[in-house]
Protein backbone atom coordinates (compact mmCIF):
# COMPACT_ATOMS: atom_id res chain seq x y z
CA UNK A 1 0.00 0.00 0.00
CA UNK A 2 2.77 2.40 1.02
CA UNK A 3 4.66 1.51 -2.14
CA UNK A 4 1.67 2.49 -4.31
CA UNK A 5 1.26 5.74 -2.41
CA UNK A 6 4.92 6.59 -2.98
CA UNK A 7 4.59 5.83 -6.69
CA UNK A 8 1.47 8.03 -6.91
CA UNK A 9 3.25 10.90 -5.12
CA UNK A 10 6.27 10.56 -7.43
CA UNK A 11 4.02 10.66 -10.50
CA UNK A 12 2.15 13.74 -9.22
CA UNK A 13 5.44 15.55 -8.52
CA UNK A 14 6.93 14.51 -11.85
CA UNK A 15 4.00 15.68 -13.92
CA UNK A 16 2.76 18.68 -11.94
CA UNK A 17 4.98 21.28 -13.75
CA UNK A 18 3.69 20.05 -17.11
CA UNK A 19 0.12 20.31 -15.96
CA UNK A 20 0.56 23.84 -14.60
CA UNK A 21 2.28 25.05 -17.81
CA UNK A 22 -0.62 23.95 -20.01
CA UNK A 23 -3.52 26.28 -20.55
CA UNK A 24 -7.15 25.34 -21.11
CA UNK A 25 -7.75 23.72 -24.52
CA UNK A 26 -8.58 26.14 -27.28
CA UNK A 27 -12.06 26.22 -28.72
CA UNK A 28 -12.46 25.88 -32.51
CA UNK A 29 -13.19 29.60 -32.82
CA UNK A 30 -10.07 30.48 -30.83
CA UNK A 31 -7.99 28.03 -32.81
CA UNK A 32 -9.19 29.64 -36.04
CA UNK A 33 -8.39 33.09 -34.70
CA UNK A 34 -4.86 31.95 -33.75
CA UNK A 35 -4.36 30.34 -37.16
CA UNK A 36 -5.59 33.45 -38.95
CA UNK A 37 -3.71 36.09 -36.98
CA UNK A 38 -0.73 34.46 -35.28
CA UNK A 39 1.73 35.90 -37.82
CA UNK A 40 0.45 39.41 -37.03
CA UNK A 41 0.66 38.57 -33.31
CA UNK A 42 4.29 37.50 -33.72
CA UNK A 43 5.13 40.89 -35.30
CA UNK A 44 3.32 42.67 -32.42
CA UNK A 45 5.23 40.53 -29.90
CA UNK A 46 8.48 41.59 -31.55
CA UNK A 47 7.46 45.22 -31.16
CA UNK A 48 6.55 44.65 -27.49
CA UNK A 49 9.96 43.04 -26.93
CA UNK A 50 11.65 46.10 -28.46
CA UNK A 51 9.66 48.53 -26.33
CA UNK A 52 10.27 46.49 -23.13
CA UNK A 53 14.04 46.72 -23.55
CA UNK A 54 14.38 50.42 -22.57
CA UNK A 55 12.01 49.82 -19.63
CA UNK A 56 14.26 47.01 -18.39
CA UNK A 57 17.44 49.07 -18.89
CA UNK A 58 16.01 52.24 -17.30
CA UNK A 59 14.45 50.39 -14.36
CA UNK A 60 17.63 48.37 -13.74
CA UNK A 61 19.77 51.50 -13.78
CA UNK A 62 17.41 53.49 -11.53
CA UNK A 63 16.97 50.64 -9.06
CA UNK A 64 20.76 50.31 -8.73
CA UNK A 65 21.12 54.05 -8.32
CA UNK A 66 18.50 54.06 -5.50
CA UNK A 67 20.21 51.05 -3.87
CA UNK A 68 23.53 52.93 -3.76
CA UNK A 69 21.78 55.88 -2.10
CA UNK A 70 20.15 53.56 0.47
CA UNK A 71 23.53 51.98 1.27
CA UNK A 72 24.98 55.48 1.83
CA UNK A 73 22.23 56.32 4.34
CA UNK A 74 22.57 52.94 6.08
CA UNK A 75 26.29 53.62 6.51
CA UNK A 76 25.62 57.01 8.05
CA UNK A 77 22.94 55.60 10.34
CA UNK A 78 25.39 52.92 11.54
CA UNK A 79 28.16 55.52 12.03
CA UNK A 80 25.78 57.67 14.09
CA UNK A 81 24.94 54.61 16.26
CA UNK A 82 21.22 54.93 15.59
CA UNK A 83 19.28 51.70 16.06
CA UNK A 84 17.31 51.16 12.83
CA UNK A 85 17.60 47.46 11.81
CA UNK A 86 14.52 47.76 9.57
CA UNK A 87 16.54 49.94 7.16
CA UNK A 88 19.01 47.09 6.64
CA UNK A 89 16.36 44.40 6.28
CA UNK A 90 14.37 46.48 3.76
CA UNK A 91 17.55 47.19 1.76
CA UNK A 92 18.39 43.48 1.73
CA UNK A 93 14.87 42.52 0.56
CA UNK A 94 14.94 45.29 -2.04
CA UNK A 95 18.24 43.99 -3.43
CA UNK A 96 16.86 40.43 -3.60
CA UNK A 97 13.79 41.68 -5.43
CA UNK A 98 15.95 43.51 -8.01
CA UNK A 99 17.81 40.24 -8.67
CA UNK A 100 14.50 38.38 -9.03
CA UNK A 101 13.27 41.08 -11.44
CA UNK A 102 16.43 40.71 -13.56
CA UNK A 103 16.15 36.90 -13.64
CA UNK A 104 12.46 36.94 -14.51
CA UNK A 105 13.12 39.44 -17.31
CA UNK A 106 15.76 37.08 -18.76
CA UNK A 107 13.26 34.19 -18.85
CA UNK A 108 10.52 36.47 -20.21
CA UNK A 109 12.78 37.83 -22.95
CA UNK A 110 13.95 34.33 -23.94
CA UNK A 111 10.35 33.08 -24.15
CA UNK A 112 9.39 36.16 -26.17
CA UNK A 113 12.25 35.47 -28.62
CA UNK A 114 11.28 31.78 -28.90
CA UNK A 115 7.61 32.47 -29.59
CA UNK A 116 8.52 34.71 -32.55
CA UNK A 117 10.52 31.89 -34.14
CA UNK A 118 7.69 29.33 -33.79
CA UNK A 119 5.79 27.98 -36.78
CA UNK A 120 2.45 29.05 -35.34
CA UNK A 121 0.40 27.87 -38.34
CA UNK A 122 1.83 24.39 -37.93
CA UNK A 123 1.41 24.22 -34.14
CA UNK A 124 -1.20 26.80 -33.02
CA UNK A 125 -1.84 25.10 -29.66
CA UNK A 126 1.88 25.11 -28.81
CA UNK A 127 2.01 28.75 -29.83
CA UNK A 128 -0.86 29.63 -27.50
CA UNK A 129 0.70 27.63 -24.64
CA UNK A 130 3.95 29.55 -25.13
CA UNK A 131 1.99 32.80 -25.16
CA UNK A 132 0.41 31.78 -21.83
CA UNK A 133 3.91 31.23 -20.43
CA UNK A 134 5.04 34.66 -21.67
CA UNK A 135 1.97 36.20 -20.01
CA UNK A 136 2.74 34.41 -16.74
CA UNK A 137 6.30 35.76 -16.79
CA UNK A 138 5.04 39.27 -17.56
CA UNK A 139 2.67 38.99 -14.58
CA UNK A 140 5.68 37.99 -12.43
CA UNK A 141 7.61 41.01 -13.74
CA UNK A 142 4.73 43.32 -12.84
CA UNK A 143 4.67 41.68 -9.39
CA UNK A 144 8.39 42.40 -8.92
CA UNK A 145 7.88 46.05 -9.93
CA UNK A 146 5.03 46.37 -7.39
CA UNK A 147 7.05 44.63 -4.68
CA UNK A 148 10.04 46.93 -5.31
CA UNK A 149 7.73 49.95 -5.00
CA UNK A 150 6.41 48.51 -1.73
CA UNK A 151 9.96 48.19 -0.31
CA UNK A 152 10.76 51.75 -1.40
CA UNK A 153 7.62 53.02 0.37
CA UNK A 154 8.57 51.06 3.50
CA UNK A 155 12.11 52.43 3.38
CA UNK A 156 10.84 56.00 3.09
CA UNK A 157 8.59 55.46 6.13
CA UNK A 158 11.54 54.10 8.15
CA UNK A 159 13.73 57.05 7.13
CA UNK A 160 11.00 59.42 8.28
CA UNK A 161 10.98 57.59 11.65
CA UNK A 162 14.76 58.07 11.90
CA UNK A 163 14.25 61.77 11.05
CA UNK A 164 11.72 62.05 13.88
CA UNK A 165 14.25 60.56 16.34
CA UNK A 166 16.77 63.21 15.28
CA UNK A 167 14.38 66.11 15.93
Amino acid sequence: MRKYLLICCALVIAFSPLVSAESAPLSDAQLNAVLANCSVAQVTLGRIQQSDKPARINRGFRYDSILKLMVKLNTRVAQSRIDAPELLSITSNYEKEIKAFTQTYTTYDDDLSDIQKMDCKEAPTDFYDSLTRVRENRTRLEGHVNQIDFYLDEYEKSVNNVGNILL
Binding site: K53, S80, L141, L166
Partner: protein, 121 residues
Protein backbone atom coordinates in the same frame (compact mmCIF):
# COMPACT_ATOMS: atom_id res chain seq x y z
CA UNK B 1 62.91 11.46 -32.68
CA UNK B 2 61.49 10.13 -35.94
CA UNK B 3 62.03 11.65 -39.35
CA UNK B 4 58.64 13.35 -39.52
CA UNK B 5 59.17 15.26 -36.26
CA UNK B 6 62.61 16.37 -37.39
CA UNK B 7 61.12 17.62 -40.64
CA UNK B 8 58.45 19.59 -38.76
CA UNK B 9 61.04 21.20 -36.44
CA UNK B 10 63.18 22.16 -39.42
CA UNK B 11 60.12 23.68 -41.12
CA UNK B 12 59.27 25.68 -37.99
CA UNK B 13 62.87 26.94 -37.75
CA UNK B 14 62.81 28.02 -41.35
CA UNK B 15 59.41 29.78 -41.11
CA UNK B 16 59.63 31.64 -37.81
CA UNK B 17 57.63 34.63 -39.04
CA UNK B 18 54.77 32.46 -40.30
CA UNK B 19 54.72 30.57 -37.00
CA UNK B 20 54.58 33.84 -34.99
CA UNK B 21 51.74 35.16 -37.20
CA UNK B 22 49.79 31.90 -36.84
CA UNK B 23 50.29 31.90 -33.07
CA UNK B 24 49.11 35.52 -32.86
CA UNK B 25 46.01 34.67 -34.92
CA UNK B 26 45.30 31.67 -32.71
CA UNK B 27 45.60 33.73 -29.50
CA UNK B 28 43.37 36.46 -31.02
CA UNK B 29 40.75 33.89 -32.01
CA UNK B 30 40.74 32.35 -28.53
CA UNK B 31 40.49 35.73 -26.78
CA UNK B 32 37.70 36.83 -29.15
CA UNK B 33 35.81 33.59 -28.48
CA UNK B 34 36.21 34.06 -24.70
CA UNK B 35 35.00 37.68 -24.83
CA UNK B 36 31.99 36.73 -27.00
CA UNK B 37 31.19 33.91 -24.58
CA UNK B 38 31.26 36.35 -21.64
CA UNK B 39 29.13 38.78 -23.69
CA UNK B 40 26.45 36.12 -24.24
CA UNK B 41 26.63 34.27 -20.90
CA UNK B 42 25.58 37.30 -18.85
CA UNK B 43 22.86 39.79 -19.76
CA UNK B 44 25.15 42.19 -21.66
CA UNK B 45 24.09 40.95 -25.11
CA UNK B 46 20.44 41.13 -24.11
CA UNK B 47 20.72 44.75 -23.01
CA UNK B 48 23.18 45.92 -25.66
CA UNK B 49 21.37 48.53 -27.71
CA UNK B 50 24.47 49.90 -29.44
CA UNK B 51 23.94 47.39 -32.28
CA UNK B 52 22.40 48.42 -35.61
CA UNK B 53 18.59 48.23 -35.62
CA UNK B 54 18.22 49.59 -32.10
CA UNK B 55 18.26 53.31 -33.02
CA UNK B 56 14.68 53.90 -31.85
CA UNK B 57 15.21 51.91 -28.65
CA UNK B 58 18.39 53.88 -27.93
CA UNK B 59 16.43 57.12 -27.91
CA UNK B 60 14.08 55.73 -25.23
CA UNK B 61 16.90 54.97 -22.80
CA UNK B 62 17.27 57.69 -20.19
CA UNK B 63 20.63 59.39 -19.85
CA UNK B 64 22.55 58.96 -16.62
CA UNK B 65 21.79 61.54 -13.99
CA UNK B 66 24.40 63.61 -12.18
CA UNK B 67 25.92 62.35 -8.94
CA UNK B 68 23.87 63.38 -5.91
CA UNK B 69 24.93 65.55 -2.98
CA UNK B 70 24.19 62.95 -0.30
CA UNK B 71 27.37 61.29 0.94
CA UNK B 72 28.07 58.11 2.93
CA UNK B 73 30.03 60.03 5.56
CA UNK B 74 29.21 62.97 7.78
CA UNK B 75 26.94 63.90 10.63
CA UNK B 76 23.41 62.52 10.42
CA UNK B 77 20.96 65.25 11.37
CA UNK B 78 17.49 66.30 10.21
CA UNK B 79 19.03 68.35 7.39
CA UNK B 80 20.92 65.27 6.10
CA UNK B 81 17.75 63.15 6.26
CA UNK B 82 15.84 65.80 4.31
CA UNK B 83 18.57 65.92 1.67
CA UNK B 84 18.44 62.11 1.43
CA UNK B 85 14.65 62.10 1.01
CA UNK B 86 14.87 64.79 -1.65
CA UNK B 87 17.33 62.74 -3.71
CA UNK B 88 15.49 59.48 -3.00
CA UNK B 89 12.18 60.86 -4.26
CA UNK B 90 13.80 62.53 -7.27
CA UNK B 91 15.27 59.15 -8.29
CA UNK B 92 11.93 57.42 -7.74
CA UNK B 93 10.17 59.99 -9.88
CA UNK B 94 12.45 59.08 -12.80
CA UNK B 95 10.96 55.56 -12.73
CA UNK B 96 7.48 56.88 -13.45
CA UNK B 97 7.77 57.12 -17.22
CA UNK B 98 8.81 53.48 -17.65
CA UNK B 99 6.55 50.52 -18.42
CA UNK B 100 5.39 48.50 -15.39
CA UNK B 101 5.00 45.39 -17.56
CA UNK B 102 1.24 45.41 -17.19
CA UNK B 103 -0.83 42.65 -18.78
CA UNK B 104 -2.79 44.75 -21.26
CA UNK B 105 -0.04 44.67 -23.89
CA UNK B 106 -0.27 40.88 -24.26
CA UNK B 107 -4.03 40.50 -24.21
CA UNK B 108 -5.79 38.56 -26.98
CA UNK B 109 -7.38 41.84 -28.11
CA UNK B 110 -4.00 43.58 -28.50
CA UNK B 111 -2.55 40.59 -30.33
CA UNK B 112 -5.68 40.28 -32.49
CA UNK B 113 -6.24 36.69 -31.36
CA UNK B 114 -9.89 37.19 -30.49
CA UNK B 115 -12.28 34.77 -32.14
CA UNK B 116 -14.80 36.56 -34.31
CA UNK B 117 -18.32 35.05 -34.09
CA UNK B 118 -19.51 33.70 -37.40
CA UNK B 119 -22.32 35.71 -38.99
CA UNK B 120 -25.50 33.77 -39.69
CA UNK B 121 -26.97 34.51 -43.07
Amino acid sequence: MNGRAKLAINWLRGNKLAVVVLMALLVTAILTWVSMWIYHINDVSRLDISRPGYEVVRESVQRQEEAGMFQATGKLDKKAVDLFLKEFNAKRKLLDGNSRFDQGALSDEQLELVSVPETVE
